[in-house]
Amino acid sequence: MDNLLLSRLQFATTTSIHFLFVTLTLGLVLFVAGMQTAYTITGNPVYRRMTKFWGKIYVVNYAVGIVTGLVMEFQFGLNWSGLSKVTGNVFGVPLALETLIAFVAEATFLGMWIFGWDRIRKGVHLALIWLVALTAYASAFWIMVANAFLQHPVGYEMRGDQAYLTDFGALLANSNLIDTLLHVISAAVLAGGLFVAGISAYHFIKRTQEVEVFRRSMRWGLIAAPIGAFSIIHWGFLQEVVIEQTQPAKLAQMYGEPERMVAAQQAMEQQFGPGDWAPPGWIGVPYQIMMNSAFVMALILLVCLILLFRNWVVRLRVPLYVLLIMVPLPFVAVISGWLVREVGRQPWTVYGLLTTDKAVSDLPAAVVLISFVGFTLVLGTLAVVDYVLIARFVRKGPDDELFGSTLDQVAKPASAHSF
C-alpha cells in the first residue's frame, strides 16, 4: 500500500467516525434546546425530564464528536501539505474561522451548561444551550465553506503555483455551499428526529412507565423527522443541478451513465490535458443507498406522522418496531452521501486546481501505516465504547441522575465510606 492510499484511508476513517457523531449532535441539540425552552416557559416538570434524558444522551454522544474533531483539525497539516502549499491562503480562512467562531465557543458554552444545572439562573442556563446549538451550526457552516472550496474553488487567483484570496465574499456565495449545507442540516434534523422517535418507540415496546415523557418525545421526533426527510430530498436534488454544472464527471458516475462519462472525460482532457479524470464508478452504489433510504424514510415517517392521530402509532405497535429499526438508517445515508461527494471529487483534492496525488504529504508509507492503524484503533474503540454507553443510557430511561447531581450525592468522604 502506498502513502497516498493510506493517507486517504486515514482521512476517510477519522472523518467518517467524526461525521457519525456530529450528525446526531447537530440533530439532538435542537431537541434538548427546544425541550428546555418548553420547560422554562411552561414550568411543566415533564419537559425537565425530557431535557435531562435527551441531554444525557446528547453529551455522551458529544464526547466522541469533540475528540475526533480535535484530531480532524490537525489532519490537513499532517497528511495533506500540498493543500496548504497551493491553497493555504484561501482554504485556511474558513478553517481558522470555524475554530475561532464556532469550536472554541461551542465547547466553552457546553461545559458551562453541563456544570450550570440548578446553579445558573434558569434563563441564562437556557441561553447557554441555545448558544451551544447556534455555535454548532456555525461550525457546520464554516466547514461546509471549506468543503465547497474543495468542490468548486472560487474567490482566488493563481500567482505562480500558489492561490491567493481575492474575494472572500465569493467563498460564501459558492454555488456548492448553501444547498449542501441545508442538505446536511436536514440530515441532522432527520437523524435527530428519527433517533428521538425510535428510542421513544423502544420504550413503548418495553411498556414504559414514563408515558408522558415518551409520548411527547415521540411527537416531537415524528414532527421533526419527516421535515428533515423531505428537505433532505429537496436539497439533495437541487445539488445535482449544481454538480452537473461544476463536476459533470461526478454526476455521470453517480447516475452510472457511460455516455455522460465519456463526454465529461473528453471535456476534461481538453481543459487539463490527457489523463484519467473519471471518479471511481462505485460511487453509484452509495448514491443509490442514500437516495433510496431517503425515500423509504420519508414515506414511512409521513405515515407515522399521520398515525400520531389518536395515538395510533403506539396502539398499532407495528409502527414502534419500524421506527426503532429505522434509527441507524440516517447514519448509513450520511456516510453514503459523504462518500459520493468526496470520492466523486477524485482525482482532485481541489477541483480543477490540485490533484490528490499532489496534495498528499511526502511521507514514507510505513509511517502513515502506523498512524492509520493508530487512529483507526483508538477512535474506533472509543466509538464502540461510546455507542455501548449510549445504549445503556437509552435502556435505563429517564432518571434524575447525571445533571445537577452534587458531590455529596454521588460519593461520600473516605471516613464515611463503607466499601
Binding site: A63, L70, S84, I114, L382, L407
Partner: protein, 317 residues
C-alpha cells in the same frame, strides 16, 4: 500587523499551557490525591467546568496556524509526523478517560479509566516537553540536528511533567474542598523545588544548545526560563500564607514560559511561512470582534465557577 499574528499565536500557545496545564496536572495527581471515590470526584470537579474551555485554546492555536501560517502548520505537523500523531492520540485518550470514567457505577470501570487518565496525562506532559525541547532547536524537520534536538527534548519532557504536576497541585490546593486541599498543598510544596531546579538547569542548557536567532533569542530564553524557575520556587511560600491566587499566578507564569520560549525561537522564521496580506486582512477583520468576545466568554466561565468545590457543587466528570 507583522507582529500581530506571531504574538497572537504565542499568546494562545502560552495560554493553552497555563489552562490545560491545570488539567494535565490534575489528571496526573488524580490517583495520588484521590484515595476514595469522593476525593476523586472532587479532583475531577475542580477542573470540570473549565475542562472543555481549556483545551479549546489548543484548537485556537490550530486555527490560527491554519489561517495565518498555513506553511508553518505543515512544517510543524508534517516534520514531526509521528510525534504529533502520538500527541493527538494521547490527547484523545486523556479526554475519553475524563468523559467516560463516571458514566458507569462499576468500580472496576472507574478504576480502569482513572489509570488511563493518570497515564495519558503523564504521557501528554511528556509529549509537550518533547515538542518544546525539539522546537527550541528550531523548526522541523530535524534531519541534521536530531541528536541535539532529541537530548533537549528528553530534558524538557522531564521538566514539563514536574512543572505541570506542580501547577496542577497548586490549582487543586486552590480549588479542592478545604479538607482535601491540604494534601494538594503538601504535594505542591514537595514538588516545586525539584521542578524549579530542573527548569532552571534546562533553561541554562539552552546556552549551549544551538537554536535559531542566535544570541538575540538565547539571552531572553535563558532569562525567562530562570524567571519561571524562580516563580515556581516561590509558589509554596504563597500557599503557606493561604494566598492561593498568588500561588496559581506564579505557577501559571511558569507553565506559560516553555511555550513562550519555543515561540521566541520560532518567531524569526515565521515571516517566510505567513499567509498572504489579503488573507490576513480578512482574518483580522473577524479578529477585532472575536478576540474580545472569546476573552469575555472565558472570563464569564472562570467567574461563574470561581468558588472552591464543596459538598454541594454540581459534578459531571
Amino acid at each position: 500587523m507583522d507582529l500581530l499574528w506571531p504574538i497572537l499565536l504565542g499568546l494562545l500557545f502560552a495560554g493553552y499551557f497555563v489552562v490545560d496545564g491545570f488539567d494535565i496536572g490534575a489528571g496526573l495527581l488524580l490517583r495520588r490525591l484521590g484515595g476514595g471515590e469522593y476525593e476523586r470526584r472532587a479532583v475531577l470537579t475542580s477542573i470540570g467546568p473549565f475542562f472543555l474551555g481549556n483545551e479549546v485554546w489548543l484548537v485556537a492555536v490550530g486555527g490560527v496556524l491554519a489561517g495565518a501560517f498555513p506553511l508553518m502548520k505543515d512544517h510543524l505537523l508534517g516534520g514531526l509526523y509521528l510525534l504529533i500523531v502520538a500527541g493527538l492520540l494521547i490527547w484523545v485518550v486523556r479526554d475519553a478517560a475524563i468523559w467516560f470514567r463516571s458514566r458507569r457505577p462499576s468500580p472496576r470501570w472507574r478504576a480502569g479509566w482513572d489509570a488511563m487518565l493518570g497515564g495519558s496525562s503523564g504521557v501528554f506532559a511528556v509529549f509537550w516537553g518533547l515538542l518544546v525541547g525539539a522546537l527550541l532547536t528550531g523548526p522541523p524537520p530535524l534531519t541534521d540536528r536530531w541528536l541535539v534536538a532529541g537530548i533537549n527534548a528528553a530534558v524538557w519532557a522531564v521538566v514539563m511533567v514536574l512543572l505541570f504536576t506542580t501547577h496542577g497541585a497548586v490549582f487543586l490546593a486552590a480549588r479542592l474542598p478545604a479538607d482535601l486541599a491540604a494534601r494538594a498543598t503538601a504535594t505542591a510544596t514537595r514538588l516545586s523545588r525539584p521542578a524549579a531546579g530542573l527548569l532552571a538547569l534546562a533553561a541554562l542548557a539552552q546556552l549551549v544548545v544551538p537554536g535559531p536567532g542566535g544570541i538575540a533569542t538565547t539571552v531572553p530564553v535563558v532569562l525567562l526560563g530562570l524567571l519561571a524557575a524562580a516563580a515556581l520556587w516561590s509558589a509554596p511560600a504563597a500557599l503557606a500564607k493561604s494566598r492561593y491566587g498568588s500561588a496559581v499566578a506564579l505557577t501559571s507564569f511558569a507553565a506559560a514560559v516553555p511555550a513562550v520560549l519555543a515561540s521566541l525561537r520560532l518567531a524569526g522564521g515565521l515571516t517566510d511561512v505567513t499567509a498572504d496580506p489579503a488573507t490576513l486582512s480578512v482574518l483580522s477583520g473577524f479578529l477585532v470582534v472575536l478576540v474580545p468576545v472569546l476573552a469575555a466568554m472565558q472570563a464569564w466561565m472562570w467567574w461563574t465557577f470561581r468558588r472552591r468545590v464543596h459538598a454541594g457543587t454540581v459534578v459531571f466528570f
